[in-house]
């Protein structure tokens, strides 16, 4: 497969803060790629470099096979962008702004524009100042979905949308994928990411800490195990990959409840050990998406990563 976006070792320094410190990102053509990370991790800085608004201090970036800084104008005929914080011209109506953006990009589809206005329930005659945050966001979304690009860059596009509109947004992204377009989706809404994304990349402090499909990421994460045992749970803590073991007596000491977390690959050994203690009951829970991200957001800082900055 060809890469829609390929970034390697990207660096960007603002004054004394290192916003990007060797970030890697690969987005395959035709996929919906989630771009995740805590606030200030460098997501927006990366996106702005991909749009040619910022000039990288190091590393390489290619968008649709071209240099985003040098070939910005040519490239932007094929790219539609929705910023996280949409500001509009106060004296231009939403309809005018949508048309303006369609003309500024490679053009768009009138019928699709009309259909999107209806689906997003957007009044195109209101002036920029009169729109709420969610409605400003919709103006940018309609302009992006109605345009004829190959790549959609969406930077937290649903902040401010109500749940019904969030649903419409997810349908639209799914349709984009069916049309064969590539989507880079930066988001904090994990249910959205889970529903839409083929693969995700997680960044922290300017470096990519994880990348892959959600299933792959789940395999990298600990499973929680709760077991009710008739015997004493000996030797569990010595097993490799076992964490946070707690033991609580049950039924006035006639049984023990054990809770623990186990790394992928350690489950087999744990089950053997538990079986030796006499299992009365057992539940094993795969990590939720939230746990998965929390672990990546809070985990140890990878070596070489330095300060972050919100941009």
């Amino acid at each position: 497969m060809t890469k829609a976006i390929s970034v390697s070792g990207l660096r960007k320094v603002f004054g004394r803060t290192r916003a990007l410190d060797g970030l890697d990102l690969a987005v395959e053509a035709g996929e919906v790629h989630g771009f995740l990370g805590p606030n200030g991790a460098g997501k927006s800085t990366t996106i702005r470099i991909l749009l040619g608004l910022l000039r990288p201090d190091g590393g390489a970036a290619q968008v649709l096979g071209r240099d985003p800084w040098r070939d910005a104008v040519e490239l932007h005929r094929r790219v539609a962008y929705v910023p996280g914080d949409v500001t509009l011209w106060r004296n231009l109506s939403g309809g005018e702004v949508i048309d303006l953006f369609l003309r500024l990009r490679g053009g768009g589809d009138r019928a699709r524009r009309a259909g999107l206005l209806e689906r997003f329930e957007l009044d195109p005659t209101k002036k920029g100042r009169a729109y709420s945050k969610g409605n400003r966001q919709k103006v940018a979304l309609v302009a992006a979905f109605a345009s004829d690009g190959d790549l959609l860059v969406l930077d937290e596009p649903t902040s401010g949308l109500d749940p019904l509109m969030e649903e419409v947004f997810q349908q639209c992204v799914a349709e984009e994928r069916e049309r064969g377009r590539t989507v880079l989706l930066s988001s904090h809404v994990l249910s959205e990411v889970e529903a839409l994304c083929d693969r995700v990349s997680i960044v922290r402090r300017g470096v990519t800490v994880e990348t892959g499909s959600l299933a792959e990421l789940r395999h990298l994460t600990r499973t929680s195990v709760t077991a009710e045992l008739s015997g004493a749970p000996d030797g569990l803590t010595q097993l490799p990959g076992v964490h946070d073991v707690t033991v609580r007596p049950l039924h006035e000491g006639r049984a023990q409840q054990v809770r623990l977390q186990v790394d992928p690959g350690g489950l087999d050994a744990v089950l053997h050990r538990l079986a030796a203690c006499g299992v009365l009951g057992l539940t094993s829970t795969p990590p939720t998406l939230e746990e998965l991200f929390l672990r990546h957001y809070q985990g140890e800082v990878p070596a070489g990563a330095a300060g972050t900055v919100a941009r």
Partner: protein
């Protein structure tokens, strides 16, 4: 009954005091935000007044020299129109003559900027919403803004008074002049407070207040040109004229200072009343619905720039046409009074040119229009920065628009728009003067040409603004200083006999004095080339830098 009424009264009472809750905190916030801008403004104004005073002392050190200057000024309607009459020929009187209108305008601009910045700009940006969700009364933001402006104007008055008294001028006159300048500032703080209630846009609010200020200045000029022995009613109508009527160093009519104070009180009261009738963030005029689809012309970076800048271009052109017309119309009647007066001729020769007094006056007005047009030019360039910091440049540049194309749309206004604004002024002035002189066909082209000839000089500060915006965008607002220095040199230079190299710092100092003088192409070519070089350097830097 009383048991019911009492809590009601108490509640009404409480709600009234709540209207001002948080004013102190907002005031401290305003002072903190303006901690650089306001002191610079106050000190610059104070220093200008003081340096004018000491320059006059060395330039006109004899009583006969001063009397000659006063005679020739008062005999010339044109000079009176520009600078006002000399009311007393002692050193203090000359300082008051020179600085009261200019200082008043300067203080007024400061007040407009401060008041709009802390009221409408806060609402427009959405910050006020956050502030007002805290324990902040409905009237607190406007009150804090007005108090900030009041404090700044009091400081201006005290600094001028102390500085002039320190230079040995009479203390009473020094205080009267300081208060006259500060009074004009205070009056326009009130005007700005009203303007900030009318529109949703801070830019439009500043435009409205600026239009009132311009009209007040033109009224005063027309009144002073028309005055015989007594002052004209036109001067009394103009807030800029009140400072003159205080007669600092010439009798010190203290009661006249009540006029700006009363005007400030009335306008502030009107602003509070208007503010009480509207919602946060809203103007008095409701937004009309816009077009559901963009017209054919709103396409690409140029169409967008046209849409964003056409309103301000129209306003400036209109203002220039009116101001040019007024000055053109007073030129003819004013100059016949002069007769053969060497003193006047000398001032005009330095200011305007060497031909007749009429030419010299027309030429100096053309110069003033040119310098004011430089403000428009710089403002049009800095629109780029406002688009960038407002986050509106980013989505445009994420389209298939190069940075050069994006900038070019706005720069067209800075360069061609400035020429258009000057043409409007030239047309107005040519018509006004031509009608008064009974020779429209002969005068209109000369006068129009003379005003249009200012364009290359006005482009130079604009080019500098492009360079600053491209290379060091954080200090973009500093480009205003370049236009301000041109204005100050052009305004004060001729009377203060500033040395040639100082006059030469301003591009306007290099222009031939049109109409009248022989025009050579050389300075126009050089100035245009300089403006072009600055612009190109700025655009090169813009292409290389980070955006946003």
């Amino acid at each position: 009954m009383t048991a019911v009424a009492a809590p009601g009264t108490a509640r009404r009472h409480a709600s009234r005091s709540w209207q001002l809750a948080g004013t102190g905190t907002l005031l401290r916030l305003a002072v903190r935000r303006d901690r650089v801008m306001l002191p610079v403004w106050v000190v610059a104004l104070g220093l200008t007044v003081m340096s004018t005073a000491s320059a006059f002392r060395t330039l006109y050190d004899t009583a006969s020299g001063r009397a000659g200057l006063a005679r020739s000024t008062n005999a010339s309607g044109s000079l009176r129109a520009l600078y006002g009459p000399v009311l007393d020929d002692a050193p203090g009187g000359l300082v008051a003559w020179r600085m009261v209108a200019l200082g008043g305008v300067f203080a007024a601009v400061m007040s407009v900027v401060v008041v709009v910045r802390h009221t409408r700009e806060e609402e427009e940006s959405g910050r006020q919403e956050l502030l007002s969700s805290a324990v902040v009364g409905r009237r607190a933001p406007l009150t804090a803004a007005l108090l900030t402006a009041l404090a700044a104007n009091v400081l201006v008055a005290l600094l001028v008074a102390a500085g002039l008294a320190g230079l040995g001028l009479p203390g009473g006159g020094a205080l009267a002049l300081g208060l006259a300048i500060g009074g004009a500032g205070l009056c326009f703080a009130g005007v700005a407070a009203v303007a900030a209630q009318l529109t949703e846009s801070a830019r439009a609010a500043k435009g409205i207040a600026g239009a009132v200020l311009g009209a007040a200045f033109v009224l005063r000029a027309a009144g002073d040109a028309a005055r015989g022995g007594a002052s004209s009613p036109l001067v009394w109508v103009s807030p800029v004229g009140w400072g003159e009527e205080v007669r600092a160093f010439a009798g010190n009519r203290w009661w006249v200072l009540l006029l700006p104070c009363a005007a400030a009180a009335v306008t502030a009261a009107a602003a509070y009343a208007l503010a009480g009738r509207r919602d946060l963030g809203a103007g008095l005029l409701a937004d009309r619905p816009g077009a559901a689809a963009a017209s054919r012309r709103l396409a690409g970076a140029y169409g967008l720039a046209w849409r964003l800048q056409r309103g301000s271009l129209l306003g400036w052109a209109l203002a220039f046409a009116v101001a040019g017309g007024v000055f053109g119309a007073i030129t003819d009647g004013a100059t016949e009074l002069v007769g053969d007066n060497d003193g006047t001729r000398e001032i005009f020769a330095r200011m305007g040119g060497h031909q007749g007094i009429t030419e010299a006056f027309l030429s100096s007005i053309a110069g003033v229009l040119g310098m004011v047009a430089a403000l428009y030019a710089v403002g049009s360039v800095l629109r780029l920065r406002a688009e960038e910091t407002g986050g509106r440049a980013e989505p445009v540049l994420a389209g298939a628009v190069s940075r050069l194309r994006w900038a070019a749309g706005h720069l067209a206004f800075a360069f061609l728009g400035t020429a258009a604004v000057l043409a409007a002024g030239g047309l107005g002035m040519g018509l006004g003067y031509g009608l008064a002189a009974g020779d429209v066909g002969g005068q209109l082209p000369r006068v129009l040409g003379a005003v249009l000839a200012q364009a290359p000089a006005a482009w130079v500060p604009a080019g500098l603004a492009v360079l600053v915006f491209g290379a060091v965008p954080q200090v973009s607002a500093g480009a205003w200083a370049a236009a301000g220095v041109c204005l100050a040199i052009g305004w004060l230079g001729p009377v203060l006999k500033l040395p040639g190299w100082v006059m030469g710092l301003s591009p306007f100092g290099h222009l031939p004095k049109l109409p009248g003088a022989v025009a050579s192409a050389v300075p126009f070519v050089w100035l245009t080339a300089l403006a072009a070089a600055l612009t190109c350097a700025g655009l090169v830097a813009l292409r290389r830098r980070d955006l946003g």
